[in-house]
C-alpha cells in the first residue's frame, strides 16, 4: 500500500513538473520591463543602432526595455500567435502595410498619445498621412526608416555616357539606355526578387495602380495595358538594354555583381539598396535616383511610387502604452533617429534631421516629389498565386526568350 501511495505521489509530481515546465517564463522582473519585439536581426546595423539608443533611453528615463530581435521571418511567423496567446509584448515593428493590415486589429489607436506629446511637430507629414490611410483613417503606427522605390543608378556611368538629366518620360528613358549602351555599359539589370516591379510600375503608369491590381487579381490578361507593357519591354530586350544574364540573375547577383561592380547602370529597387551593396560598391560610388518614367497616354506620372517606412505600433493590450510611446518617440526623433540613419544609410524620420546620409543625397528630391503612394511592386505582386508566373514569364521577356504576345499568351494560359 505504501509503495502504491509513493508511486502515485511520484507520478503526480512528475506530471506536475512536466506541466510546470510547459508554462510561460513569467518571471516577475520581465513584467516590469517594456517588451519590444523587433523585426531586425541582431547583427543588422538597424538593430545595433536601436540597441545603442535603447541603452541611452533607459539611462535617461529609468525605463528598462526588453528588446527581442526576432528578424523578418521570426516576427512574421511569430507575432500574431504570440499576441493571440496573450504574450506580454508592448510594442513591435514591421512594414507599414503589414502592421496596419495584417495585424491591424491588435493595434492601439495612437491619435491621443500623438496629440498629447505633440509628436507630429517634427514628423514626416506624408508618411504620417500614409499611416492614417492604411490605418483606416486613424493613426495606429509611427513611421521610421522611410524608404522609397525608384530607379537607382550609377552617376559615373551616366556622366560617361553623356546623360545630363534623369529621364522623366519613356522616350527619354530609351534615349538614356541607348547612350549608356553606346558608352559600353549595360543599361539595366535586375534580380528575380524585384523584376516583377518593372512590370507593375509600367502597368501602373499606363492605367494606374488600382487597375493594375484588378488585372493581376482577376486575371484580365486581355487588357491592352498588358500587351503594351510587354511590347515596351520587348523593345528594351531587343535593343540589348538588359544585362545579358538577366534571366539567370538570382538575387543578389544582379545588384552585387553588376550594379555595385560598375558594369550596369540602373536597377529598380528600394532606397535600402545603397546600404546593402556599400561594401562592394565602395565609398566613392555615386548614387543617383529617379522615379519610374511616365509613359505616353498613361494616367500616372513620376509623382507616383511606392514609398513607406517601417512602423512602430503598440499592442492594444499593453499595460504601459505611455512608456511604449515614450520609447517610440525617443527612437524616431533627434539623436536616435540620426544615429539609425547614419548606421543603416537610411532616410531620417525626424523632419528636423535634415542631413541625409551622403549616399542618399540624390534620393531626397525623388522622395519629396512623390504625392501618390503605390503599394509594394505597384500591384504586380497583389495575387500570390500569380506572382511566380509573372516573374517567370516577365524574366523571359526581359531576356528575349519570349516576345510580347508570347508573354500575354503565357499569362492567359496560367490564369485558366
Amino acid at each position: 500500500m505504501k509503495k502504491k501511495c509513493l508511486s502515485t505521489l511520484l507520478c503526480a509530481a512528475m506530471v506536475a513538473a512536466m506541466l510546470t515546465g510547459c508554462g510561460g517564463d513569467k518571471a516577475p522582473a520581465a513584467d516590469e520591463k517594456l517588451v519590444y519585439w523587433s523585426m531586425w536581426d541582431a547583427a543588422e546595423p538597424q538593430a545595433q543602432a536601436i540597441s545603442k539608443s535603447i541603452e541611452a533611453f533607459t539611462e535617461e528615463t529609468g525605463i528598462a526595455v526588453d528588446v527581442q530581435f526576432k528578424g523578418r521571418t521570426g516576427i512574421r511567423e511569430g507575432l500574431q500567435p504570440a499576441l493571440d496567446a496573450g504574450t506580454n509584448i508592448d510594442l513591435f515593428d514591421e512594414d507599414i502595410d503589414r502592421v496596419n493590415t495584417t495585424w491591424g486589429s491588435y493595434l492601439l489607436d495612437l491619435e491621443e498619445l500623438a496629440k498629447a506629446n505633440d509628436y507630429e511637430a517634427t514628423a514626416n507629414a506624408g508618411l504620417m498621412a500614409a499611416c492614417r490611410e492604411v490605418g483606416g483613417g486613424s493613426l495606429k503606427s509611427i513611421p521610421y526608416q522611410p524608404n522609397v522605390f525608384a530607379y537607382f543608378y550609377n552617376v559615373e556611368i551616366f556622366e560617361a555616357a553623356g546623360v545630363t538629366a534623369v529621364p522623366t518620360t519613356w522616350a527619354e528613358f530609351l534615349d538614356t539606355c541607348q547612350k549608356i549602351k553606346d558608352a559600353g555599359y549595360t543599361p539595366i539589370t535586375n534580380d528575380n526578387a524585384y523584376i516583377s516591379s518593372m512590370f507593375g510600375y509600367h502597368m501602373s503608369r499606363l492605367v494606374g495602380e488600382p487597375a493594375t491590381e484588378e488585372i493581376v487579381k482577376n486575371g484580365e490578361w486581355d487588357h491592352e495595358a498588358v500587351l503594351k507593357t510587354a511590347q515596351a519591354y520587348e523593345e528594351l530586350a531587343s535593343k540589348g538594354y538588359f544585362s545579358e544574364t538577366i534571366e539567370s540573375n538570382q538575387w543578389p547577383a544582379g545588384q552585387n555583381t553588376e550594379l555595385a561592380m560598375g558594369t550596369a547602370a540602373m536597377y529598380l529597387n528600394g532606397s535600402w539598396l545603397p546600404n546593402e551593396v556599400k561594401d562592394i560598391a565602395g565609398e566613392d560610388f555615386k548614387w543617383g535616383c529617379f522615379s519610374y518614367p511616365a509613359v505616353e497616354g498613361g494616367v500616372d506620372g513620376t509623382e507616383a511610387s511606392n514609398y513607406g517606412a517601417q512602423v512602430f505600433a503598440i499592442n492594444a493590450k499593453s499595460s504601459k502604452p505611455d512608456q511604449a510611446f515614450q520609447l517610440i518617440t525617443y527612437l524616431t526623433k533627434g539623436e536616435a533617429d540620426a544615429l539609425l540613419s547614419e548606421m543603416s544609410v537610411g532616410i531620417p524620420a525626424d523632419s528636423s534631421n535634415t542631413a541625409w546620409p551622403a549616399l542618399l543625397t540624390n534620393v531626397k528630391p525623388v522622395m519629396d516629389s512623390l504625392t501618390t503612394r503605390y503599394p509594394w511592386g505597384a500591384g504586380a505582386e497583389a495575387n500570390a498565386d500569380m506572382t511566380p508566373i509573372i516573374v517567370e514569364n516577365f524574366t523571359k521577356l526581359c531576356g528575349g526568350s519570349l516576345d510580347a504576345q508570347g508573354f500575354v499568351d503565357a499569362m492567359k494560359a496560367a490564369g485558366k
Binding site: P81, E381, A384
Partner: protein, 301 residues
C-alpha cells in the same frame, strides 16, 4: 489485477495526454481547419468561416499549386533515383575494402554537416554563376562551349540546378544508411560466392541487393518524408519571391498562412491546412506502395 490496472493508467496517463496534445489534437484541428476560411493561423474558432470543400477545389484549380505538386513529384522521383543510385554506388565502393574508407566517407557526408544556407549560397552565387561560376570555368578550360554558356539559373533550368544542389547534399546521408546495411551482411556469403566463381558485380546483384531490401525501404521512406517537407532549399533558390521552378506545396502553404513576398497578399490558413492534409495523404500512399513493393521479412540472414 485491479492494482495493476491503476498503475498502468497512472503511468500511461502522462504519455497519452502528451501524445494527444502534441499529435492528435493538431491533426484533428488541421483536418478541421481545411474546411474553413481562416485568416490568421491562431484565430479563435469564432472567427472561422465554414467553406466546405472550397479550399480543396481552389487548390486543384490553381495552376501554381499544381506546379508545386509537379515540382515535388519531380524532386521525389528524379532526385530519388539520383540520390539512391549514387548512395548505393558509394556505399558499395566504401564497403568493398578500399583504402582511406573513412576519409572518403567523411568527405561524402560533409555537406550534411554544413548549413544548407551556406551550401545553397555557394551553389547559387558561385558554382552556377553565369559570370564566374565553377561550371563556366570548367567549360572554358575544356573548351566545352555548351557548358560555358549554359544558363543554370534561368527560368528554364533553375529546377535542374536546384535538383543537383539538393541531391549533392543528400547522397552522404543515404549512403551511410546503405553502408550500414551492407556491413550487416555476413562475409561468409561473399566468401562462398567467390568460391563458386561469382564476380563482384554478380555478388552485388545476387547477394547485396536482395539483402538490402529492408534498408532500401527505410531509405525510400526517409527520402519521401524529406521530399514532402521540401521547403528550405526552395526558399533559398528563390529568395524573396517564389519561383515556378522551385515552388513546393510547403512553400505554397507558407505563403497562404503568412503571406507571400513583400506584398500584402490574401491569407487563408484553411488552404494551408488543406495543403497539409493533401501532402499527408500522398505520404501515406507512398508508404502503402513501399510496403507492397518491399516486403522485408521474406529473407532472414
Amino acid at each position: 489485477m485491479k492494482k495493476n490496472k491503476t498503475m498502468i493508467v497512472v503511468f500511461l496517463a502522462p504519455a497519452v495526454i502528451m501524445f494527444c496534445i502534441i499529435f492528435v489534437y493538431p491533426i484533428i484541428r488541421t483536418i478541421l481547419m481545411s474546411f474553413f476560411k481562416i485568416e490568421g493561423v491562431t484565430d479563435a474558432l469564432s472567427k472561422w468561416e465554414f467553406s466546405g470543400l472550397a479550399n480543396y477545389i481552389k487548390l486543384f484549380n490553381t495552376e501554381l499549386f499544381r506546379i508545386s505538386m509537379w515540382n515535388i513529384f519531380r524532386i521525389w522521383l528524379f532526385g530519388g533515383i539520383l540520390v539512391m543510385g549514387l548512395a548505393l554506388l558509394f556505399a558499395a565502393i566504401l564497403t568493398s575494402g578500399i583504402r582511406f574508407k573513412n576519409v572518403f566517407r567523411a568527405i561524402i557526408y560533409m555537406p550534411n554537416v554544413v548549413s544548407a544556407v551556406a551550401l545553397a549560397t555557394m551553389w547559387l552565387q558561385y558554382v552556377f554563376s553565369p559570370k564566374f561560376g565553377l561550371f563556366k570555368s570548367i567549360g572554358t578550360l575544356l573548351h566545352w562551349k555548351w557548358l560555358e554558356d549554359f544558363q543554370w539559373l534561368d527560368p528554364s533550368h533553375l529546377f535542374l540546378a536546384l535538383l543537383i544542389a539538393y541531391c549533392f547534399g543528400m547522397v552522404g546521408y543515404h549512403m551511410l544508411i546503405f553502408a550500414s546495411g551492407i556491413e550487416r551482411i555476413g562475409t561468409e556469403y561473399y566468401e562462398a560466392a567467390t568460391l563458386d566463381g561469382a564476380s563482384r558485380i554478380q555478388q552485388f546483384r545476387y547477394i547485396t541487393l536482395p539483402l538490402l531490401k529492408g534498408v532500401t525501404k527505410t531509405n525510400i521512406t526517409m527520402w519521401s518524408i524529406s521530399s514532402a517537407g521540401f521547403f528550405l532549399w526552395s526558399q533559398l533558390f528563390s529568395m524573396v519571391v517564389s519561383n515556378t521552378q522551385t515552388i513546393t506545396p510547403v512553400v505554397y502553404m507558407y505563403q497562404n498562412i503568412f503571406g507571400a513576398g513583400n506584398s500584402m497578399t490574401e491569407r487563408n490558413a484553411g488552404i494551408g491546412a488543406a495543403v497539409g492534409v493533401l501532402l499527408s495523404v500522398c505520404v501515406v500512399l507512398i508508404f502503402i506502395v513501399c510496403d507492397k513493393l518491399f516486403k522485408d521479412d521474406d529473407i532472414e540472414f
